[in-house]
């Protein structure tokens, strides 16, 4: 499929479709109603999570969505724990650093594999791609032993290092750099730019939608990462949000309204990110799908 076409159809996705029939067509009304009902069903779990986080324990198990006696007590309880803000900041810091690094390097590697002709290119590409198939669970123990020998345990770097580059991002960026015509790069070369400058100031700006989509993917992934931060951190001051939240469900105790509050607090930031970057996310996913 031609690249311009991909862009066009991904962009088209952001607009409402041109309807073939008039809006008063009964079939269209039925279709819309069913879709709207489906959409409501889809968001129900999120709605119930939010609703439960505003309820007192006694009302937790009722079916009503609007609490009879809404309370912010659960939030006050969860947020009164000073550590919560620290965990939030840790998660934000870790997710931000890994995102910046991964976007930078994935774009760099993707570009090198796409635009340079050199021996070993295919091997490097296949090697990187093959890491996609290695389950993280397999690497946790060797990573831990490695962190010990390098003194990375209980440090921010220790939490971050496994995600500093991603094979998925490299693959995605390589696909997107194929949409950048070689002529542009050639012209820049004639203008006397070196290869790094060409990449940074010519090629990168042409794939910004892909970069932002990738950044969002990686940020979300790191925001919710659980197993590795748990294993590599010892001090509570270094916990990330998901790890910290597990301390709310201590030994065999389940306070559902508090868990729902914690779940809501972990979800709300990603919902905000979505509302801000909605266009980029939708377009990025669409292009990834068409190119993948």
């Amino acid at each position: 499929m031609a690249d311009t076409q991909i862009r066009a159809s991904a962009d088209a996705l952001l607009r409402a479709p041109a309807s073939a029939r008039g809006p008063r067509d009964p079939a269209a009304i039925i279709r819309w109603t069913l879709l709207a009902m489906g959409a409501i069903v889809m968001v129900m779990p999120i709605v119930y999570m939010l609703s439960a986080s505003f309820k007192y324990p006694y009302e937790m198990y009722n079916l009503n969505i609007i609490p009879k006696e809404p309370t912010a007590e659960n939030y006050a309880y969860v947020l009164s724990d000073g550590r919560f803000y620290r965990w939030f900041a840790n998660s934000f810091f870790v997710a931000t650093c890994t995102t910046v690094s991964a976007v930078f390097f994935d774009a760099l590697v993707g570009y090198a594999l796409c635009k340079f002709r050199f021996r070993g290119r295919l091997i490097v590409f296949i090697a990187i791609l093959s890491t996609l198939m290695i389950p993280t669970e397999m690497l946790v123990i060797p990573w831990y032993l490695m962190s010990r020998s390098f003194g990375w345990l209980d440090t921010y770097w220790g939490i971050m290092f496994p995600g500093m580059m991603t094979a998925f991002g490299t693959f995605l960026m390589k696909q997107f750099f194929e949409t950048v015509p070689d002529d542009f790069l050639e012209a820049a070369r004639i203008d006397g730019l070196n290869e790094f400058q060409i990449w940074w100031s010519v090629a990168l700006p042409m794939v910004t939608p892909a970069l932002s989509a990738l950044a969002i993917f990686i940020f979300l992934g790191n925001w919710t990462a659980f197993i590795w931060p748990l294993i590599v951190t010892n001090s509570q001051e270094l916990y990330t949000l998901p790890v910290g939240l597990t301390t709310f469900s201590v030994e065999q105790t389940v306070d559902w309204e508090l868990i729902m509050t914690g779940a809501a607090l972990a979800t709300i930031p990603t919902l905000i990110v979505f509302l801000i970057f909605q266009r980029y996310i939708i377009r990025g996913i669409a292009m990834a799908g068409l190119k993948g």
Partner: protein, 418 residues
Amino acid sequence: MKAIRTLTLAATTSLAAMLSAGAVSAVEIEYWQYIFDARITAMDKLIANFEAANPGITVKQSTFPYADYRTKVAAAIPAGEGPDVVQLFYGWLNDYVQADLIQPLPESTFPAARIEAEFFPMVQAMKIDGKYMALPTAVRSLALFYNTKLFAEAGVTAPPATLAEMVEIAQKITKKDGAGNITLEGITSGMTAQDHQWFREVLLRQFGAVPYTDDYRTVTYNTPEGVAALEFYTSLEQTLGVTSSTFMDEPQAAFKAGRAGMHIDGSFRIGALKDTRGLEWGVAELPAGPDGTQSNYASYWVNAITTKAQGEKYDAAVKFMDYITSDEAMQIWLDTVGELPAKPSAALTDANIADPVFGPFIKGLGYGHATIFADESGQRQVLVDAVSRIFLQGQSAADSLAQAAAAEQALLDSYYAK
């Protein structure tokens, strides 16, 4: 790109905020335990007292979620990371000794003869090759919690003394909706919680079976008596209908929410229940068996000095160990966590025995058994599956118990073959 630049800026700012390091004092030792609010508070008090008495030493407490604690400890100590003094479940001791991860307590501060004279006899399991490797601050046992409000509503005046009375009371309390679903449990149940301990060390013995040989390496409960015990346990849900193992997800949650009349749990639950508003409850000894046999399951967490502690850290660790196994520390632990002192001298005070809450637990210690686990979660799973097979697949209690015994024996064999 603008978004990325903003993110970078934010990252730099938060990095700067986090690079505020504190000053380092003379000797700092690290203590590890799992997260349980009351235990952390208690340890904070002990550390404060200890630091006040020993100005040159500071103790840093690190805590981890219970579900991941063992993973954490097992991964960190061999890595030369982590604690100087560590809290371990008593059943894990052999592993740590064999792997050379903890060192013996010095004979000068902890003479074996004194330990044996002062501590409950079950602590002798901590002696390996004549040396004590670890010591507990507190021990735990099981008891029956009951909801006094529900008892009064059902016209029950006293907690049950026997299993038969327990069943009778449970039947009076249980409520069901029109479709036959339980809305109020007579008694909670769940092999995934404490019931596997209750079954293994209490019910089996009460029905005349012996769970294991004395060294806990051979399963001996696959007998008609064992089957009778299992049949009794499953009848609570299946024929008597006074409990449901899936009710409110977890037994203690049901009791805490006032939706269950009785609940068997450990002394560590006291703290959480005390804080529950609107819940009126009492504690009784575990009901006696058909022939009057009383039994209990006792367990404990121990503190040990790791091989990481050397030189002045070792000396500090010894002092710390000495303090946290003192009578004073044990009383603080009892008052804060509700776990029972590990020494009869501190536990069996008149005040403690007469205490309506601690009393039944302390009496339970007198006839308690401490299972020596090879793999606690694996052995628990065996019993969880045994009950699941009966409930979900209609297997007979005899077949299910035989299968469980074989599975548990295989587990023990593979563990001790190492």
